[in-house]
């Protein structure tokens, strides 16, 4: 599929900001299944300096510093992407029993497997706990293949939990999500990751976008989409397999990848530190527009 993703963030401050330093993770990463055209980035007021780099996880990060006094900050990033219908994950190879996967993670000297061990450890938003293990265990019976077990966990989260955008915030602890059985995509991804890590498996958090279809017969509303989040589990020998517990599916061409990390904290779309500003209001709008025609080779500005 081809999409144009437009992600617009606007901050209004009650008093002037004299200086701010920011980091945006709004530039979609290139992968073997996702091609990106150069993004159009519009930042107002104009930054005195902006620099792109890759972070520890390989995500694209845009640093920018604004030195003009301002009461409004607007960051808009528009990117044309093409998502292929297959992920890099090797689906042909049978997934090992999950206990064997745990053992391989602990012992296998393959550098790729060693690197994946980072995603077995606790991270700031996702701590392992026996409660998460207990929730996952019914799906992880002895000798069950890892993928099959994870798919069932994914489905159970989808069925057991209520999508409720008013229940949680970024700061809601995961055990509360588990006990109350409600949350949003970010919570469900974190929960699945916590379950997998509590079993000794490696799992990572993926931020991105998902095309939302309007109700039949109604036009598509521009800007009504939202950021999305899901996860991937590491299958030794086969790679990272993605799961979306919010939609009970394995992401394919409708899931556009932005960035990944240990949890949300590693991929927050916009962070900053400013001098002044007082209180602020935030407006975010996301638009995932399908492009029916193949993307022509017209020039985009970076």
């Amino acid at each position: 599929m081809r999409y144009t993703i437009t992600h617009r963030t606007e901050y209004q401050y009650s008093s002037g900001v004299a200086l701010c330093h920011n980091e945006a993770r709004l530039l979609p990463r290139e992968t073997s299944w996702q091609l990106c055209r150069p993004s159009q980035i519009r930042i107002k007021p104009r930054p005195a300096l902006s620099v792109e780099r890759q972070d520890f996880f390989g995500n694209r990060v845009l640093y920018f510093g604004i030195q003009d006094v301002h009461q409004r900050l607007e960051v808009t990033v528009a990117t044309e992407v093409r998502v292929l219908d297959e992920r890099s994950f090797d689906e042909s190879s049978a997934s090992p029993p999950w206990k064997q996967a745990c053992r391989m993670l602990g012992e296998d000297p393959d550098p790729e497997i060693i690197e994946a061990r980072l995603f077995r450890l606790d991270s700031p938003f996702v701590g392992t706990h026996r409660d998460f293990r207990a929730y996952a265990e019914p799906s992880f019976t002895p000798n069950r293949p890892l993928l099959e077990a994870t798919a069932e966990l994914n489905q159970r989260i989808y069925e057991d939990f209520t999508y409720d955008p008013h229940f949680t915030t970024v700061a809601t602890p995961l055990n509360e999500v588990l006990s109350e059985r409600r949350g949003v995509c970010q919570d469900f991804a974190h929960l699945a990751i916590a379950c997998l890590r509590s079993l000794g498996l490696a799992a990572r958090y993926i931020s991105g976008y998902l095309e939302t279809l309007p109700p039949p017969g109604q036009p598509r509303l521009v800007g009504a989409d939202a950021s999305h989040a899901w996860l991937a589990v590491y299958v030794p020998g086969a790679g990272w397999a993605e799961f979306d517990p919010t939609n009970n599916c394995m992401p394919r061409e409708k899931h556009v990848t932005l960035a990944w990390g240990r949890d949300y904290g590693d991929v927050a779309p916009l962070q900053g530190v400013m001098t002044g500003g007082g209180s602020h209001t935030l407006t975010v709008s996301v638009d995932v527009e399908p492009n029916p025609e193949p993307v022509k080779s017209k020039k985009s500005k970076a």
Partner: protein
């Protein structure tokens, strides 16, 4: 044969009772000085002779001298609690710890290799991560450790070393082998204390130090300076190097100020720096000045609230990006805290072969990392012989043999959940060294801290370092917070080396500067408040002294005590309710007055005011002369002498002492601080506080007094130290008109409002304005308003004043208010023009897991 005779085969006549003969060295274990009871190691012979000559009693006297010198120099070590109770004085034992030149040479080779290895590991962990990918280091040891900062990935420009400074803790086991106990890379404290120890001991014990064949330290510090300057590749001619400190509340702030002075660096805090255009700048009175190199004494995670800990107030937003851009170099690099991970010790032999192609020369304390199942099993099986530690910074530790069943089960349970967070180390008794206690030498366990600094292409090791009395389980910081004792560590040279002055000589042309526009705004702010607090202290102490004096006179001679009510008003404390008897009233009044001397609810109590002085004074430590600093320490001594048990007379004597010292402090600052921008702020602070207090005193005496009249006027003259001047001039009874002239209009009288305003006007006019506007600044206009008001005052209308004339008191009241209003706005105006950028940055979004 006596013990002494064994030790001194070459010294024939020794008294039978000697310092060394009584040294009770244990038969087991390793002692640095004696190889067996009564048997000296050869390299201790010379110093043993000297110590013997000096004798235990004299050593003890000199030891007192050392502590006194350290205290007056303000060598402190504070914990993070409140300022007053937290400062621990640095304790130094006068007996040095000796090491032969040969042993040290071997040690230095091992240390140099260790630093090279750690530097290579640091470079690898933040770039290729071969050590992890190849399986030389388990990821579970590195990633959960807060010292590993993913944000620092690829942040070090190529060609720069991450490790510039390295501190290594060492101890000797019973087998005589020196082993590494730990590494310090984030701000290896102690080099400054080492230097100060050496200087003070050499001063107090010249007979020991003058001709001692010991390696000197000065050239090591010189290397530090050269290395730091050499890091400024973009600006090699005249690099601007700053020392970034967390501030006066840091446990080792003394050392930061000391090193900054010694190495000629600007001492700055996070809020003094700002990142603009991808560069780091120092905020000064004259504008922004570029910074090339930062000697960083702030922990990694606190250095940049944008990319590291968002809740840090000590850092500089955008710093890491400036580092990536290559415009500023940090020593040590951000992320170096991972090297402090105690679990690395278990992997160093392999890492050394892989990263350097060499065998590890200097052994670490045998260490097992519990993340490895075999090691975990070993640790559980041998718990009694081991010390288990968390790998986390300042994490807890457990001595296996001391655990009862319950604690043991708890620990094992924790280790089962996350074994990779634990290491176990062999529990070895440390070697002992002689420490002076009660005129005798006693063997005490010791640890050493070595310092290593980058030099050209390699590393250089300090010949000596800091020795301290320790069990080996605590960290240096923990030990000192509990009042640990440090020792001077000598490395012996072949021949006696002259004790050269450690004062550095300039090596090239330097740019002449005057302490003016390059003064950091924060320093100006603190100097201003130091001035205000000093004057507030003086004013409060004078009022208190006067009140106590009146109280005593009343008690003895039954004089008129009613003006005490007014003095209580001036001190802003409530007058105690009417008492049953004069005796009860006396105690009630005394109690209330004493409460101002002690720590109390009252915000104006002397302790609180002095804490303000101390806090601001410490923040500008290297702008005050050494003698000023000593005076501040002496005032502190007196302030802390105050106790609830004081009687009125003792309290008054205490205040007398404090008033002399505060006068000396202010006077000395006038005499020694260059009269440039910094001093101007100090002086403006003092005179602004004084003029405000004088106006308030006036208002009290002539307008709001409960008991107006001669006794109160006399009090006002005494408090302003003008009674003598008045008597000389008028030789008559007190008359309000004459007092008003003396204290309000007489511009030749330093205690008069007129004089004070003139002085403020002169100094405010000399302040550098950030923008060179042709117009008067807000603060100039405010002073001008006050000066004009006074000069235009209708003296004739005031002259008819007497205590029963309501008309003129309205006139005076109006004048006092007209003076007070602009002056009370002056403080804010100064803050706005000169200090205003101390605004705290805030986060765009709050993310707290």
């Amino acid at each position: 044969m006596t013990k002494a005779a064994v030790a001194y085969s070459d010294v024939l006549e020794l008294p039978s009772e000697t310092l060394l003969a009584d040294y009770p060295v244990a038969a087991a274990g390793y002692d640095e000085m004696c190889s067996a009871p009564g048997k000296l190691r050869p390299h201790w012979r010379e110093i043993a002779k000297t110590l013997e000559e000096i004798g235990g009693e004299e050593l003890e006297r000199r030891h007192g001298e050392v502590q006194r010198l350290l205290q007056t120099d303000g060598v402190t070590y504070n914990t993070y609690d409140d300022l007053r109770s937290s400062q621990q004085h640095w304790l130094v034992d006068p007996i040095p710890l000796l090491m032969t030149g040969e042993e040290w040479s071997d040690l230095a080779v091992g240390l140099e290799q260790r630093t090279r290895l750690m530097n290579a590991l640091l470079a690898d962990l933040y770039n290729q991560r071969l050590a992890i990918r190849q399986g030389w280091l388990p990821p579970e040891l590195i990633y959960p450790h807060p010292g590993f900062l993913a944000s620092c990935h690829q942040s070090l420009p190529t060609g720069f070393r991450g490790l510039i400074f390295h501190g290594v803790d060492l101890a000797r086991g019973p087998d005589g082998v020196l082993r590494v106990y730990g590494d310090r890379t984030q701000s290896p404290a102690g080099a400054g204390y080492t230097l100060e120890n050496r200087i003070i001991l050499a001063r107090a014990l010249p007979m020991l130090y003058r001709d001692a064949p010991l390696r000197r330290l000065a050239s090591f510090l010189e290397t530090e300076r050269t290395t730091l300057a050499g890091l400024a590749r973009h600006h090699p001619e005249n690099p601007h190097v700053v020392l970034l400190t967390p501030g006066p509340n840091s446990p080792v702030y003394f050392e930061h100020a000391y090193l900054a002075n010694y190495l000629s660096l600007s001492l700055v805090e996070g809020e003094d720096l700002v990142v603009r255009d991808g560069r780091v700048w120092l905020k000064t009175l004259g504008g922004l000045q570029p910074v090339d190199v930062i000697l960083r004494q702030v922990l990694d995670a606190f250095c940049d609230p944008l990319e590291l800990r968002g809740d840090s107030l000590l850092g500089v937003p955008g710093l890491l990006q400036a580092v990536r851009g290559g415009h500023v170099v940090l020593a040590n690099a951000l992320g170096s805290g991972i090297i402090e991970n105690p679990g690395l010790a278990a992997f160093l032999p392999l890492l050394c072969r892989q990263l350097l192609g060499e065998d590890l020369k200097l052994p670490s304390l045998p260490t097992w990392w519990c993340g490895n199942p075999d090691d975990h099993d070993y640790v559980l099986a041998n718990l009694d012989q081991l010390v288990v530690r968390s790998i986390l910074p300042s994490g807890p530790y457990w001595e296996g043999h001391q655990l009862d069943d319950k604690l043991r089960a708890q620990l094992i349970g924790q280790m089962r959940v996350k074994p990779y967070l634990f290491v176990a180390q062999e529990s070895q008794p440390l070697s002992t060294a002689p420490v002076l206690e009660g005129g005798k030498l006693l063997p005490r366990p010791v640890m050493l801290r070595s310092f290593i600094v980058a030099e050209d292409d390699g590393y250089r090791v300090m010949p000596g370092g800091l020795a301290r009395v320790s069990s080996g389980l605590d960290t240096l910081q923990a030990a000192l917070q509990k009042g640990g004792i440090s020792k001077d560590w000598w490395v012996l040279a072949q021949t006696p080396q002259r004790h050269v002055s450690l004062l550095r000589q300039a090596h090239g042309p330097i740019v002449a500067t005057r302490d003016g526009s390059d003064l950091p705004s924060r320093v100006a702010d603190n100097l201003f408040w130091l001035g205000r607090y000093s004057e507030r202290f003086d004013g409060t102490a004078r009022l208190l002294r006067e009140a106590l004096g009146r109280l005593l006179e009343w008690e003895q001679d039954n004089t008129d005590e009613r003006c005490l009510d007014d003095l209580f008003d001036a001190l802003e404390i409530p007058v105690p309710p009417v008492a049953e008897s004069p005796r009860a009233r006396f105690f009630a009044l005394r109690q209330t007055l004493l409460s101002l001397l002690l720590e109390s609810e009252h915000p104006g109590n002397l302790q609180a005011v002095f804490n303000g002085m101390l806090r601001t004074g410490r923040a500008v430590r290297n702008h005050l002369g050494d003698d000023s600093w000593r005076l501040l320490n002496r005032i502190q001594h007196w302030v802390q002498e105050s106790s609830p048990g004081l009687n009125a007379r003792q309290a008054r004597e205490l205040l007398e002492e404090e008033l002399m010292l505060i006068a000396a402090f202010c006077g000395l600052n006038n005499e020694t601080m260059p009269h440039h921008q910094g001093w101007l702020f100090f002086d403006i602070g003092r005179y602004l506080e004084r003029v405000l207090r004088t106006l308030e005193l006036f208002k009290l005496a002539f307008i709001t007094a409960r008991h107006p009249g001669v006794p109160l006027w006399e009090v006002v003259l005494t408090i302003t130290d003008n009674l003598t001047a008045y008597r000389r001039r008028y030789r008559s009874a007190l008359h309000p008109t004459a007092i008003i002239d003396l204290l309000l209009f007489d511009e030749g009288n330093p205690r008069s409002v007129g004089y004070q305003l003139q002085r403020l006007q002169r100094h405010v006019g000399r302040l550098q304005q950030p923008d060179s506007s042709p117009y008067r600044s807000a603060e100039e206009r405010l002073v001008l308003e006050a000066v004009s008001t006074l000069q235009l005052a209708d003296i004739a209308a005031l002259a008819v004043l007497s205590h029963d004339s309501t008309h003129s008191s309205t006139e005076l009241s109006r004048l006092l208010d007209a003076l007070h209003t602009p002056l009370s706005g002056l403080s804010d105006a100064l803050t706005h023009s000169h200090f205003s950028h101390a605004e705290v940055p805030q986060q765009l979004i709050t993310m707290r897991p």
